[in-house]
């Protein structure tokens, strides 16, 4: 009884005074997209808030320069009528210049705050993030929805695996694997943004090397991180009319890769790629046994060539996106040295083996 009355007193006093940590949704200025750029020695942030009523198609944005991310945010808050809230942050876009520095310094503020959304996506932007965000886009959606959607659809078509803030930080800490992020660019012709490839990181810094869209798909395949749809299109024949007739599109139903590392000082590495695919677009294909074998052989060579090229690029950039270092550390700890690993990696002998199987020709026989 005493306890109940005590409780009652506490409750009613609370109702009267209001509370310490109350954050009312109606006062929150929900940021969905944030761009970060370097502005001299300072950091510039662009924050985007989607519209709160039906009458506006475009939300509001704030641009602010500050010493640190938190500093810029703090100043931005003083410029806004509501309380700027980052708990619904969907996308963090980093300008190229900023990404070339140790990005953990910039992400730390987002990572540590308990209110923040750890499943926010990260992206590197060609040029400045602010510029891309301010470009007029040929789309019906508002800026924030558009860019988030862009990343989501890139995940769907296997251009880029899901890369959340949380996973990115794990990779940043792990010396055995490097971060990779989607690379956003602006397409002048269509007035739209696009995910033009994968930005490779060495340790915590952007290397400047970007994988093309075709390489990105292969990269994801070797990383065993494919999305829902995986399509590869290559030029199969040279002189057919019309030009489209030269190209063959396949859709893989199963694609996986294994990385094996020999247990000796050279750490010779073998990447075994296994693909089962269906031809979805190639008009001249006659589905007989011989033609199928030919196609298979051709694709095997093609993928092998591409994969070797891909590995070459990555070694040159000293970016270990496949996590070869992690495997060395886990299984051959005697050959693992955190400090010299990157130099060793660049010189690593890598052999690519491809096992390509055609299991169908789509709907048309």
């Amino acid at each position: 009884m005493k306890i109940k009355s005590l409780l009652l007193v506490i409750c009613s006093s609370l109702l009267l005074t209001g509370c310490w940590d109350e954050r009312l949704l109606k006062d929150a200025y929900l940021v969905y997209t944030m761009g970060m750029d370097k502005e001299g020695d300072e950091v510039a942030i662009n924050i985007y808030v989607p519209p709160f009523d039906q009458f506006h198609t475009e939300g509001s944005s704030i641009y602010q320069v500050g010493r640190t991310i938190r500093d810029a945010r703090y100043i931005a808050n003083s410029k806004s009528a509501e309380n700027i809230d980052y708990s619904k942050l969907q996308l963090i876009m980093m300008g190229e210049d900023l990404a070339k520095e140790d990005i953990y310094f910039y992400l730390d503020a987002l990572y540590r705050n308990p209110h923040n959304n750890l499943s926010a996506r990260l992206a590197v932007v060609e040029g400045k993030a602010g510029d891309l965000l301010h470009k007029p886009l040929a789309t019906q959606k508002n800026t924030t929805e558009y860019f988030t959607g862009l990343i989501r659809s890139a995940e769907f078509v296997s251009l880029m695996p899901k890369m959340s803030l949380q996973y990115a930080c794990t990779l940043l800490f792990d010396p055995g694997q490097d971060l990779y992020l989607p690379y956003l660019a602006f397409d002048e012709q269509t007035n739209r943004g696009e995910v033009s490839g994968i930005a490779l990181f060495n340790d915590k810094k952007f290397t400047g090397t970007v994988l093309s869209q075709e390489q990105a798909t292969l990269f994801n395949l070797i990383n065993n991180k494919l999305g829902n749809v995986v399509r590869l299109t290559r030029k199969y024949k040279e002189k057919e009319e019309p030009e489209t007739g030269n190209y063959m599109t396949i859709e893989t139903t199963m694609g996986k890769a294994k990385i094996k590392i020999e247990n000796n000082a050279t750490l010779a590495t073998t990447i075994k790629i296994q693909i089962k695919a269906v031809v979805t677009e190639y008009a001249p294909l006659v589905p007989d046994e011989k033609a199928m074998r030919e196609v298979e052989e051709w694709w095997t060579k093609e993928i092998k060539k591409d994969a070797e090229e891909l590995v070459g690029i990555m070694q040159e950039a000293k970016s270990d996106g496949f996590g070869i270092g992690r495997k060395v550390a886990a299984f051959h700890p005697q050959h693992w040295d955190e400090k010299t690993w990157k130099d060793k990696y660049a010189e690593l002998p890598v052999i690519v083996e491809v096992d390509f199987k055609l299991i169908g020709t789509g709907l048309i026989d």
């Binding site: 506490i10 409750c11 209001g18 509370c19 009312l24 949704l25 109606k26 929150a28 929900l30 709160f52």
Partner: protein, 500 residues
């Protein structure tokens, strides 16, 4: 006066010398009430007269009995005690006679050379409702009979449902002034004797002068009156009473109340409806789960909403955050004020609806629900999300098949709303813990309230959240600690037989 009465009530009939004197004494005992009537009758054996309270006696029946009495040749030994007649001992006191008269019996006295000979003619005036379906416990399938205000009719209804030699009825009288008859019913071979004793003890301990309704008694005999939870199951359905008796529980009924008070019960008994057993088991299970869910919604939904809107909106999925943000844009009040405003409106509509005749009640519902709801959103006072939440809560709280639990649930959500408005999820967690501890502590007739969960009984879970087919529930639930734990054997042996 008091002293006179005391002297008066101890006087024996034998001491009286004449009929007028007897009448005067009894009349005095009854406070000279004017509906106390004397009628002289002529019989061969001597002087005779009959006295009764005219407002308690069925006139026609009395005439029939008297006529039969006069016509038949009788001798004291011949007229045995029957349901219509009872012989009164000559050494009874005025007090005994008075009590008989107050109960509605007509007392017939014959004075001759042998002294007084007394009979009691039982012809009470019964004006009761017909048996109809209880309004607040309607079912779709199954019996539509309900109790009425006559305890005899009610026992008759139960007895005709279970014609068992083990069904025991015990009469108890409570209320120093009202002398109300209470009836305790249980199955002798199943109900735990200790629980029966406890129940009787508690009823007899009531030292109140009045007891009008069973709800009045309930407060005296429950384990914890401060608890918001009902510790006895109230029902007006004979089939529900019978089912509970068969599980070893005990029912208390009272003359004048159409309700049976069943104990010991557990929390989940309030969420069981006879409908569950009449339908298919999948359907029964589904609706039972739905009811438990309705409890959760009715108690916690407004609190959760307040906590989310006021503290933890990051918990909203990305696609919902924006619509929610749009909905609360421009609402002037804090969520708790918003919620209280709307909850109180709903309670007002409900309370107004009960007292009003049906057609007007509906109108009030529509005006209150639709008009106020729409207007309040348009005026920007309250967000439309809050309307959804409160409406859903209101509907959920009416799902409970028990009236008392329904009110409990509606009251319970207010402290949770306050806690949520103060401390968000933390407050809700604290409230939830207090509630859980309270439920674990609570007992109904000394048996734990949260029975199949705490203490945990795996076998009786079969009839708690889910309803397994009846032929699988071979054991009685342990809540009432029945003596005979086994309910039934294998009723479907033919199934295995055929497969062989």
């Amino acid at each position: 006066m008091d002293k006179d009465k005391r002297i008066n009530q101890d006087k024996k009939i034998i001491e009286m010398v004449s009929i007028p004197e007897l009448f005067k004494e009894v009349s005095f005992f009854l406070g000279n009430t004017q509906d106390f009537i004397k009628r002289d009758i002529s019989v061969d054996e001597g002087e005779a007269f009959c006295m009764y309270i005219e407002t308690l006696v069925d006139r026609e029946r009395l005439e029939e009995l008297l006529e039969w009495f006069q016509r038949s040749m009788w001798e004291v030994g011949e007229v045995a005690t029957t349901s219509d007649f009872q012989i009164i001992k000559a050494d009874s006191s005025i007090n005994d006679i008075g009590l008989r008269i107050v109960k509605g019996e007509a007392v017939l006295w014959i004075l001759n050379d042998n002294g007084w000979t007394g009979f009691s003619l039982i012809c009470p005036l019964n004006r009761f409702r017909a048996i109809e379906e209880p309004k607040n416990e309607q079912v779709v399938r199954g019996s539509h009979a309900g109790f009425n205000e006559s305890v005899l009719t009610n026992i008759n209804q139960i007895r005709s449902k279970m014609r068992s030699k083990n069904l025991v009825v015990r009469y108890l009288t409570i209320g120093k002034e009202t002398n109300s008859t209470c009836v305790l019913i249980y199955l002798d071979n199943i109900a735990n004797q200790m629980v029966v004793e406890e129940y009787i003890m508690r009823v007899q301990a009531i030292d109140s002068d009045m007891a009008f309704s069973i709800g009045y008694i309930e407060e005296f005999i429950e384990d914890n009156s401060w608890s918001p939870f009902p510790q006895f199951l109230n029902t007006e359905r004979p089939d529900r009473v019978a089912a509970n008796l068969a599980e070893g529980r005990i029912a208390l009924m009272m003359e004048g109340s159409p309700t049976a008070l069943i104990g010991p019960v557990n929390f989940f008994a309030f969420y069981q409806s006879p409908d569950d057993y009449n339908g298919r088991f999948l359907v029964g299970t589904f609706y039972r789960l739905l009811r438990i869910l309705s409890f959760v919604i009715a108690v916690f939904l407004p609190a959760l909403y307040i906590a989310v809107i006021g503290f933890h909106f990051e918990i909203l999925p990305d696609d919902l955050a924006l619509p929610a943000r749009r909905a609360v844009e421009g609402v002037p009040y804090r969520p708790i004020v918003e919620a209280l405003l709307l909850e109180l409106t709903i309670e007002l509509i409900r309370e107004a609806g009960i007292r009003l005749p049906n057609p007007i009640g509906q109108t009030i519902g529509i005006v209150g629900g639709l008009v106020i709801g729409d207007a309040v959103v348009n005026a920007g006072l309250i967000s439309n999300l809050m309307i959804i939440v409160v409406a859903l809560t209101a509907i959920s709280s009416f799902v409970v098949p028990s009236v008392e639990m329904n009110t409990t649930v509606r009251i319970l959500r207010f402290p949770f709303m306050l806690l949520a408005s103060g401390f968000g999820f933390y407050g809700i967690a604290i409230g939830l813990m207090l509630l859980t501890i309270h439920l674990v502590k609570l007992e109904s007739l000394r048996s734990p309230y949260l029975t199949p969960l705490a203490p945990f009984h795996i076998s009786s879970l079969k009839d708690m959240f889910i309803r397994m087919p009846s032929w699988l529930q071979n054991k009685r639930p342990p809540g009432a600690s029945p003596i005979d734990k086994k309910r039934q054997g294998d009723s479907r042996w033919w199934k295995n037989e055929r497969e062989k």
